[in-house]
């Protein structure tokens, strides 16, 4: 059986290979040229690493502002621009404006602003963010909030094609960036708080025609799962998932409104012809209404890029009781794992565990806490792959209308969407983290199509200090992580959650932004802070770098918002209990104000 499968794979690879080598070499070549920032993560593997090395640990303190650009939009600015040659493509949160910006003249070449129904705005759970654009073969791809996926001509900004990816009237909206792998553009869906059933969809980059769509939950054929060939970690080894692997973990038809949305950063390994991503929380947040493991919510997925067939899947948090939405990025890195060179996949989950898997087979290799505060589970049983839940933090055991107190991490996780970086120089991961705990009280909620389907009240507050360097009351750390052993190498405390995407460079640097609005550079080896600059607003965007006319630039969006920063508009006047995400972040008012802009830095004269 195994031999047959290997033979089939080899035959398949031989047939597919000539097509693969032609389709979209353009983007692969543009990514390889480190002058560009051609994809949201800079590459297919989610490394967020640049081999540019003009800016180094020795001269980073000379970085100064080169130019700035206002988006004219308030609310949270996530993601980053793209750079293709002399052109930068800049985006904004809702209403999802796009600009082509000429780096030679610093002039706007074209601007695109879609017309979207404002009814979409209140359907977005955690601010009206948009995580950026994708580029391939002369087209810029925009995933609008109203789920329309649009291909724009990169030269003119004219719409080449547009396709509707979901129904916003049912709460299906989009905040995530589209991703191009080979000749397809991939997009998921948001709406786990509206009972939206998650899926991954692939569209042809030239026509917008849907190539495949695979759901996160439900019947095997709708998930594109083969009960005999799709593998999962079972009793310490990989085994087929078997028939109805999702359906039999749900009560009745709950899976139809079961969540498992897909709004993270996806990655792609050309050598495996596979793409990787995570699925989100099961709906509702009240576990009493959905007994069972709720597969395959909260899972890591490997799918064939061309067909969508599921190679393997691993569920991190069976029967979620805390909203530990599993969508965070999968970083594909070749690293030693317990001393053995491995084609690995590393992932920092909302549930507070840093996972390393064999990305070829899906085997579980490492699962360790990446914040010492994590308390909801003692550990992950490496044989079953299941977290060992601590009874007093089980909101299901405690039941509806009971407030389970002191759960770490909070629902926004030890890390949320803010993406980590991998440096092939140090072989370490650089992870922006939250250091926040919560009280969680589930309650019964009836499903109404198009209405919120949350079913829990949360209160969030700073976690107890994680190290001797960390003051009580602080809410974040920027850490370096060894994915092969599952250990924190160094940890740099921050006052607030670090909610910006990290960047590492050949210059020995790691960059990130803070909610107060600082962009910072640290020594990737030690975590020592070497440079910082206060931008116009809090940073939840991702740091990126590019080269233009022989000079290296580093840039980042500022514009406070997102789940952590949404309280900025609150203007709360007094301390009260039950403040949810607002409570701990209330002090942000002392540091920053709303407003979207891009700040780009360079070393003068260099």
């Amino acid at each position: 059986m195994n031999l047959n499968r290997i033979t089939m794979l080899l035959v398949g690879a031989a047939l597919v290979a000539p097509v693969a080598s032609q389709a979209n070499d353009d983007l692969a070549a543009k990514i390889k040229d480190s002058k560009n920032w051609a994809a949201q993560a800079g590459d297919f593997a989610n490394h967020r690493y640049s081999s540019l090395n003009q800016v180094t640990t020795a001269n980073v303190n000379q970085l100064q502002v080169a130019w700035t650009f206002s988006t004219g939009v308030l609310r949270g600015h996530e993601g980053s621009p793209l750079v293709i040659g002399d052109m930068m493509y800049i985006h904004s949160p809702f209403p999802n404006k796009v600009w082509a910006y000429d780096l030679n003249t610093l002039q706007i070449v074209w601007k695109y602003e879609p017309k979207q129904d404002p009814a979409v705005v209140p359907q977005m759970c955690c601010d009206t963010v948009n995580r950026g654009l994708a580029y391939a073969e002369g087209k810029v791809f925009l995933q609008q909030a109203d789920t329309n996926l649009v291909a724009l001509d990169a030269k003119s900004g004219k719409v080449v094609w547009s396709v509707k990816n979901g129904d916003p009237k049912l709460g299906a909206v989009n905040s995530s960036a589209p991703h191009v792998f080979k000749n397809k553009v991939f997009t998921g869906i948001s709406g786990g708080e509206w009972g939206v059933r998650g899926f991954m969809a692939a569209y042809d980059i030239n026509t917008g025609k849907q190539a495949w769509k695979g759901y996160s939950v439900g019947p095997d054929e709708e998930m594109l799962m083969d009960p005999e060939k799709t593998m999962t970690w079972t009793d310490g080894k990989m085994a087929p998932v078997g028939k109805d692997s999702s359906l039999k973990t749900w009560k009745g038809d709950q899976w139809k409104i079961g969540g498992g949305t897909t709004w993270g950063w996806y990655s792609y390994d050309p050598s495996l012809n596979a793409m990787f991503y995570g699925t989100g929380n099961p709906s509702t947040w009240n576990p009493a209404q959905r007994p069972g493991d709720n597969k395959w919510s909260m899972s890591i997925w490997s799918r064939d890029v061309d067909t969508g067939k599921v190679n393997w899947v691993y569920q991190m948090t069976p029967y979620d009781e805390w909203d530990f939405d599993g969508i965070n990025e999968m970083i594909l890195a070749d690293i030693p794992v317990h001393g053995k060179e491995t084609k690995a996949l590393s992932h920092f989950d909302r549930n507070g565990f840093g996972y390393t898997l064999d990305r070829t087979t899906g085997a579980l290799l490492v699962a360790e806490k990446y914040d010492p505060a994590v308390n909801w589970a003692t550990h992950v049983d490496m044989k079953t792959g299941r977290p060992q839940v601590v009874a007093k933090y089980s909101t299901a055991k405690n039941g509806p209308d009971v407030n389970s107190k002191g759960i770490c991490p909070a629902a926004l996780g030890s890390k949320d969407e803010q993406p980590a970086s991998f440096s092939p120089d140090t072989k370490l991961f650089y992870v922006p983290t939250n250091h926040v705990c919560m009280d969680y009280e589930p309650f019964k909620v009836e499903y109404t199509a198009g209405s919120p389907y949350v079913g829990a009240t949360l209160s969030m507050f700073p976690a107890p200090s994680a190290s001797k360097d960390q003051k009580d009351g602080t809410m974040g750390n920027f850490i370096a992580w060894d994915g092969g052993t599952g250990k924190i190498v160094w940890s740099k405390p921050e006052k607030f959650s670090v909610w910006s995407g990290a960047l590492t460079t050949k210059g020995g640097l790691a960059f990130y932004g803070t909610l107060e609005g600082y962009i910072k550079a640290v020594d990737a080896k030690t975590g020592k802070e070497l440079w910082k600059f206060k931008t116009p607003s809090g940073i939840i965007g991702n740091v990126f770098t590019y080269e233009h006319k022989g000079k290296q630039f580093v840039g980042v969006y500022s514009g406070i918002g997102g789940w952590a920063g949404i309280g900025m508009a609150a203007g709360l006047e007094k301390d009260t209990d039950g403040l949810g995400a607002v409570g701990g972040y209330k002090e942000l008012n002392k540091f920053t104000e709303l407003g979207g802009s891009l700040t780009v830095f360079a070393i003068p004269g260099k």
Binding site: P122, P452, T457, A570, L572
Partner: protein, 133 residues
């Protein structure tokens, strides 16, 4: 409707000598004992507030977030204006229309009673409890 509430509140008052009681009348659609215990209708209003996830925009304590403070808004809005806002929404400002949500529409008076009680400062805790029967 109000009369029933007043009678039950009066019965409770006689049982709870010394308790601070705010009784429902034309201006006050809620009954509150000691700031935290409320009548069944007002309690249902709290449940609807919670289920409709209003806190996501208006804040966990109704003091505002990306949406306005309901503590302040209900000092200004008439009952009719409140009902119109809930039913039709204010789409351009991010407030959804709830006209298709039966749970909200069937309990709009309860929701008003609860939020009015919070706005008036009569209900002193976001999550109240039922007056003991």
């Amino acid at each position: 409707m109000f009369r029933t509430t007043i009678i039950s509140a009066a019965l409770i008052t006689s049982a709870l000598v010394g308790a601070q009681v705010v009784q429902a009348d034309d201006a006050k659609p809620y009954t509150v004992v000691d700031g935290v215990k409320v009548d069944a209708k007002t309690m249902e209003g709290f449940r609807v507030w919670r289920e409709a996830n209003c806190a996501a925009c208006h804040g966990p304590n109704q003091e505002g977030l990306v949406g306005p403070s309901l503590i302040k808004s209900l000092q200004v809005l008439s009952k009719d204006e409140f009902v119109t806002t809930i039913t039709a929404g204010r789409l351009e400002r991010g407030m959804p229309a709830w006209n298709a949500n039966k749970r909200v529409m069937d309990n709009i008076d309860s929701l008003y009673a609860y939020l009015k009680g919070r706005s008036d400062g009569a209900i002193t805790r976001t999550k109240p409890e039922m007056i003991a029967q």
